[in-house]
């Protein structure tokens, strides 16, 4: 696939159809891949990479890139196309300035996930059928691919591209994922258990803002938490209340717009399962207002900018959720 992508990029750069290419760049190790904009054939040949570690969602970069001179070629995975579509809907990306090439994805892993499986001192990696063979400082280690993927890929919602100008490789399907299983499990807990669970998770937050800054839905020019004049600007959670507030408000602000790409949980240095907050909103929206997948299209109204006179009353919440 990588060769096909480089060939496509060279072709489009050569013909002048685009003047830049948005993709992934190799790093020091096999897994530390950085999103990058390539402008020449030499750069592409030297550093362009597409492998099992290219997990970064590239769509958010297009907010800025699509406003620059000329057209940019963007390689987007199925996940990324949902975000791309959602940003189009919000008029954040200038569609005419982007040439989207859809690329297939079989799930992306990362160094952290491998290390959580007990792999130490990663030097290299190769794929053998359904497993990864990892060469480490302390010998070789074989991991089944299914075990070495992060949660977001194990509960992948779709391998289908929502938008593209051209597709490399075969098109995938929307999958019947089990992504709400954990949300349901938490809902079934008692309020005390839920409170303990979330305090345990959110109290680890160090307010690095990685979840917010990586999120394609968090595209505000100035976040309320960065705005001194807002009265609630926070650089650190000085009280547990602020941890709760930041995450509730952030999840709420992207409710109905979050495509569930899972970047927030991937980047969290403290491994807080932030996607479980977003998925709760997605699940509630599906239940209360009908099935809705953000990023599926660019025309319908989002659930929170829409209403129905017959909507459920907020009191429905009192009858729901968990043992007392």
């Amino acid at each position: 696939m990588q060769e096909m992508m480089i060939a496509k990029a060279k072709e489009l750069l050569g013909s002048g159809a685009v003047n830049r290419v948005l993709g992934w760049k190799t790093g020091e190790f096999v897994y530390d891949i950085t999103p990058a904009v390539f402008t020449s054939v030499e750069e592409l040949e030297k550093d362009f990479v597409y492998n099992d570690f290219c997990g970064n969602n590239l769509s958010k970069y297009l907010i800025k890139e699509s406003r620059k001179e000329g057209k940019i070629l963007a390689f987007l995975k199925p996940c990324d196309t949902y975000s791309f579509n959602q940003l189009l809907k919000e008029h954040r990306i200038l569609r005419d300035n982007v040439y989207v090439v859809g690329v297939p994805c079989e799930g992306k892993t990362d160094g952290e996930t491998l290390k959580a499986k007990g792999v130490k001192g990663i030097l290299g990696i190769r794929t053998e059928g359904d497993s990864f063979v990892v060469d480490t400082l302390y010998g070789e280690k074989t991991l089944a691919k299914a075990d070495a993927l992060p949660e977001r890929c194990l509960s992948c919602k779709s391998k289908k591209h929502m938008v593209y100008d051209e597709l490399l490789g075969p098109e995938g399907e929307v999958l019947d994922s089990h992504r709400f299983d954990m949300v349901e499990k938490i809902e079934k807990m008692t309020p005390d258990e839920r409170f303990e669970f979330w305090r345990g998770e959110l109290s680890r937050c160090i307010r690095c803002n990685a979840c917010r800054n990586v999120c394609p839905a968090c595209s505000c020019e100035k976040c309320v938490f960065d705005n001194d004049a807002s009265g609630i600007a926070q650089k650190a959670a000085a009280d547990s209340f602020e941890e709760n507030m930041f995450h509730i408000i952030r999840a709420f602000h992207v409710a109905g717009r979050c495509t569930d790409c899972g970047e927030c949980s991937r980047v969290c240095p403290q491994n807080i399962p932030l996607h479980l907050l977003n998925r709760k909103f997605i699940k509630d929206i599906d239940t209360f207002y009908g099935e809705y997948q953000a990023g599926e299209d660019t025309t319908t109204r989002a659930p929170l900018t829409n209403y129905d006179p017959g909507d459920v009353e907020p009191s429905i919440v009192y009858g729901k959720g968990g043992k007392k």
Binding site: P191, W198, F241, E242, G321
Partner: protein
């Protein structure tokens, strides 16, 4: 938890200017009783209430927060309360998901003519929150010093 008999909850009530605030006014002119611990904040429309307002009220020491607006279909701005309804439904559900007592938050539709309903709603809400006791799960300790 504090003694239920002596504990008086602090309640913040966001009332829309056109219906519920007038409803509260009517409750007053009709000399209907409702607890003095209910602090009313007038907002132009129920949909003016950002989820942040609710959380901030809790941060600043509220034990319960109630939002009152025009009945669905009667919004002064035609549709504001429809949006508020969706937002609050999702927010309350999220609070519940985080293990924060859902009975501390409520939405009630009160028209300008429903002074009695306003007083009754407040009495019921204060009673429910009194039973829950002090807000411990969504408090900011710095504000309680």
């Amino acid at each position: 938890m504090q003694d239920v008999k002596t504990f008086k909850p602090k309640i913040v009530a966001f009332c829309c200017n056109w219906c519920s605030y007038a409803g509260a006014d009517l409750a007053g002119t009709n000399r209907l009783n409702y607890p003095a611990d209910v602090k009313i904040i007038r907002v132009p429309c129920s949909c003016r209430v950002n989820p942040m307002f609710i959380l901030r009220a809790f941060q600043r020491g509220a034990d319960g927060v109630i939002l009152c607006g025009c009945h669905p279909g009667d919004c002064h701005y035609t549709t504001g309360n429809y949006y508020a309804r969706r937002r609050m439904t999702l927010l309350f559900s999220m609070l519940d998901y985080l293990g924060i007592e859902k009975e501390r938050t409520r939405v009630e539709w009160v028209s300008a003519a429903e002074g009695a309903k306003f007083a009754q709603t407040m009495n019921e809400f204060v009673e429910a929150v009194t039973k829950l006791g002090e807000n411990k799960r969504l408090e900011d300790l710095r504000c309680k010093k």
